[in-house]
Symmetry: D2
Subunit: 337 residues, 4 copies
């Protein structure tokens, strides 16, 4: 079978380099172009790629991408910029898997409220599929535009899905306390990510205002068939990568921990990337993989869910490849195991 | 004024070395003895003390300590061992500030339930004072036996005290999600604290079973004048020191964030070691100090308290010196600023 | 083509888990057995393997390994233990790639002097091949017993090979200053690798006595055709993995940096895992890969070589797979790119 | 005795905050002013100072500093900027302890060659004293302008001083391999100090071109009474603070390690901040202190010196206070033990 020709928009950041490494190992993908404002060799931007990919970045040009036979474009641009670049690609018949937030929220008003920006591409938003394969799997097959999910939301949505699907918890007041490595903040230097500032330290940020809140609520409301609201608090940890979410919810009826473990095992039985564990996972168990580890506990009448993932793989580029597999009909695990 | 003669039990761990450094700077304290099973020079156990303290550790011998004129003993032994060593010291008229958990819980049954050990010293337990100066300050003055508080509990108790004292939150179902550096686990090598295991990783431990739970509840119940119950989840962070607790509670009546900030400022106005902040603190802001930083937020009808401290200073040895100051009539800040 | 049936001795450590991950991706290898003193499931020893390898460890039994059709055994045991376990495997016709030091030093006296142990298997030592493919490549093809090289030596040997092969430096007094992540010290907890001890700290160890010294000298003497002697100083860095060696040698004749870069490029032209760079490499550029990055500089008449690798991949399990490829006739890069 | 009135130029960086903390503990110093381009409260720039120093930064104005009674100014500005700001302070009779490099090199040509800048203040350069108390102690007493030494040079100069003073090593070709924490690079965010770039990684930088090279050579030449030349290679370590230098030199005559240890002990007998050790120091032993730990070893005819310090305390602000003590006649240890 011919390989799918792939382009990447925005090659200079952490999700791009992670995606490139995954695609280089994928038997069904061929990287034909990478765009970046700097026309540098990709190994000058990411020395780890030296000897692995001999490609020079090019300016963004939809026609040039098309003429190279590009079938699918992975968007690694910031939100706001994404919705400017993606429409001309879709017009030219290329598929898009967008890692930004621009096509994740169905309701433009919610987007504009949380992102403080006007949405310029409502047309394509209407056909975008939220790319969380374990929940929206069938819709992703053959999709033209996949909105790749955020890093934090995946831990929250998958961690809670079995509970809300089975009406086992109250749908308001759910507490999601998340801890993330620094790579989640991107590659642009700023004081809060300066090594001697964030090393050997823990802090919370965007308390009550983080943009992943509505994304979590939208997906969980879909699963519940009713509105869900959460309190989401992200924290910055002194490590490169990894997200650990500790989730607290109130049970609607008495249920044992053993029953919940069984429920989780059953719910995720055919989901190869979700590992149900009986002990708390450590983010390190998931580093470099597309696994999302979950553990469910009952403590004093509350249910606790512990969920861990690698924020750059499962949280971004790995799930993007998982979506790629679904879009193009590969086995979901191809290139990811 | 003559210096108070001080001895330290159990010189080999992290709280001991931190305490020694604090006491060396204290104008009113003189270290006359340090006990340890190994009769090593203290600088062989802790090379950082080379050139700062020329003292050889000695075996535990209450009479020997007494004969050196020891007025107060800081206990840096593990729980269980502490309650064996402390009675003979009290009998000989020495005061004790115990950093273990053995004298913290007034109810022996609660101790035995959580610590899975029989309590052997109920007599002295009855007269022990819980050494959290901001809450039990007057009782500590002149006390014979101070039970120095745990590291996690201080963040939870001080973080919540203004709220429970003013009946502003529901007293059950309070969520305390705490993140700690590795030094909190002590100095004995074990796999979970082996560098390549815990570095670059986050995990939760002792979910629903951590022994600081009843300690938090006892103190908060005192403040509330009614039973308080909490869900406490500790996490291990890849850093040496620092605790960050994120606390979630349900408001009993509508109150603004500004009102809460004002309440906190007022509550801690005469407490020099609690800093009320309007932005989330970082543990690094407190490293090496006896400060406990708190920040209160209202998010979607819940109140969030963020509290940060250095687990070895504020969380153990610093508050022990603060207690020492109260016991012996020094200004609370002596040697700590 | 049938897959080569592989067994691993000593499944509980870091080189074993790294090797397992590499072999799981290798199209020509099948893991049929893993031995360990504990008969645990491999995912209990290494939670990261959950869902990736369903195999229970077994006690060491050469006949059992043979009966499973094992063609090659990777030894991940400590030195001393290795030379006890390997002879019965060779007798039964299995090939061995040994990651310990037991078969690296041709001269038993040198082994016994540095390792302070009697060597019990001189017979097989005589036929062992030192498994540094870039230097001893042809000898490895079809070898029965490969002594996989040490982590530090590879940076020193490959970093200096072009210089000593071309008689460009003096062969005595070469300074090798190496910096390693903590995983190089193995997985057994001890105080020096306890997180709060080695985090946020740098120190040197085994100054003048490290056992990799004679290994470096043996290989460089082979390349030079004359005795080479080095001063080797290892240091411990607060990070999981990575080795960076800074090497200082005295030029025997005037040569420009540009000429040396050209020489290195030419020397490593057909070595896919050595990347010659003109700027100092960072260990992070090599993390998770089998690459060894080298950079050569001339400073005030001395030549400096900077060499970086991942100590667990290139330094141990990756080069073991590279050796496996040579032994069994696969392309050298199989499973490693 | 009245306290010495102190001002600090350039309050926003790491050396400034460290200096402030040291001066707050110093019984003979009073901070009367801190300058910064931003007129912020010092606790907004450095949250760790909250509740410890209530002072707003002010723009640089020599007359304003003079009118506050400032007796000494600590310069925490970058090189280049320092030599613009310091002359007007000296003119107005204030003393200056400058932490930049502008007054360290006596030979303007050497300065201009390594710093690539024209030197604008040769007049004051002529009277500047190099502030390494263990070597230039007497000259610092009562000095008007002290050039505080660089962080790396102190480890190299003090590590080698006993050897060069006693003509025990060859004076050329000395190798100084130094490893530093990231705070040495300052507080301005840039990619190389962005957490996910430098964490979990080691690299060398400024190979053969680092500006501390001539500073090391100037001081060692003073000690030797003859020209000294060195090869100095700095490396970046994933930690906040600490410098570890491994120094390699060639002995001019046979001498035992025991003799060298004795020599070092004798040389530093009256230097309270240099600790001579027989085992390799770890940077962590010196963290937060003004100690510089040295260890001397003989390996295969070479002498190795291992030297460790805290780059922000001993390497910058601590030695600045030590110089302050000498300038104003305090005991050298005041405020530093």
């Amino acid at each position: 079978m011919d390989k799918v020709k792939v382009a990447i928009l925005g090659g200079s950041g952490y999700t791009a380099v992670e995606l490139i490494k995954l695609l280089l190992r994928h038997p069904g993908a061929e990287i034909v172009a990478i765009t970046s404002r700097q026309s540098e060799h990709i190994a000058d931007l990411h020395p780890s790629l030296l000897g692995r990919l001999d490609l020079r970045c090019e300016p963004f040009d939809p026609d040039a991408l098309k003429s190279k036979g590009t079938q699918v474009v992975f968007g690694c641009l910031p939100h706001g910029t994404s919705m400017e670049s993606i429409p001309p690609l879709l017009e030219r018949g290329m598929r898009v898997i967008d890692l930004s937030a621009d096509y994740r929220l169905r309701d433009v008003k919610v987007y504009e409220q949380w992102y403080k920006e006007t949405h310029h591409d409502q047309k394509n938003l209407a056909q975008a599929v939220y790319g969380l394969p374990e929940v929206y799997g069938d819709k992703i097959v053959g999709a033209k535009l996949v909105a790749n999910p955020g890093c934090y939301p995946q831990t929250a949505i998958l961690g809670l899905a079995p509970l809300v699907a089975n009406k086992l918890i109250e749908l308001t007041g759910i507490v999601i306390d998340s801890k993330s490595g620094v790579s989640g903040g991107g590659r642009t230097p700023k004081l809060s990510f300066h090594f001697p500032e964030c090393n050997e330290s823990v802090t919370a940020y965007a308390v009550g205002t983080h943009r992943h809140t509505p994304e979590i609520e939208q997906a969980l409301s879909d699963v519940a068939g009713a509105p869900v609201s959460v309190i989401f608090t992200p924290h910055l940890m002194p490590m490169d990568r990894g997200i650990f979410s500790t989730i607290y919810a109130t049970l609607t009826r008495a249920v044992t921990e053993a029953e919940l473990v069984e429920l989780y095992r059953s719910y995720f039985a055919d989901k190869p990337f979700v590992r149900v564990r009986t002990n708390p996972p450590a983010t390190k168990d998931t580093t470099g993989t597309n696994f999302l580890d979950v553990c469910v506990k009952v403590v004093r009448g509350k249910v606790l869910v512990l969920a861990a993932e690698d924020n750059l793989v499962r949280g971004a580029s790995g799930v993007a490849v998982q979506n790629f597999n679904r879009v193009f009909g590969f086995d979901e695990r191809t290139g990811l195991m």
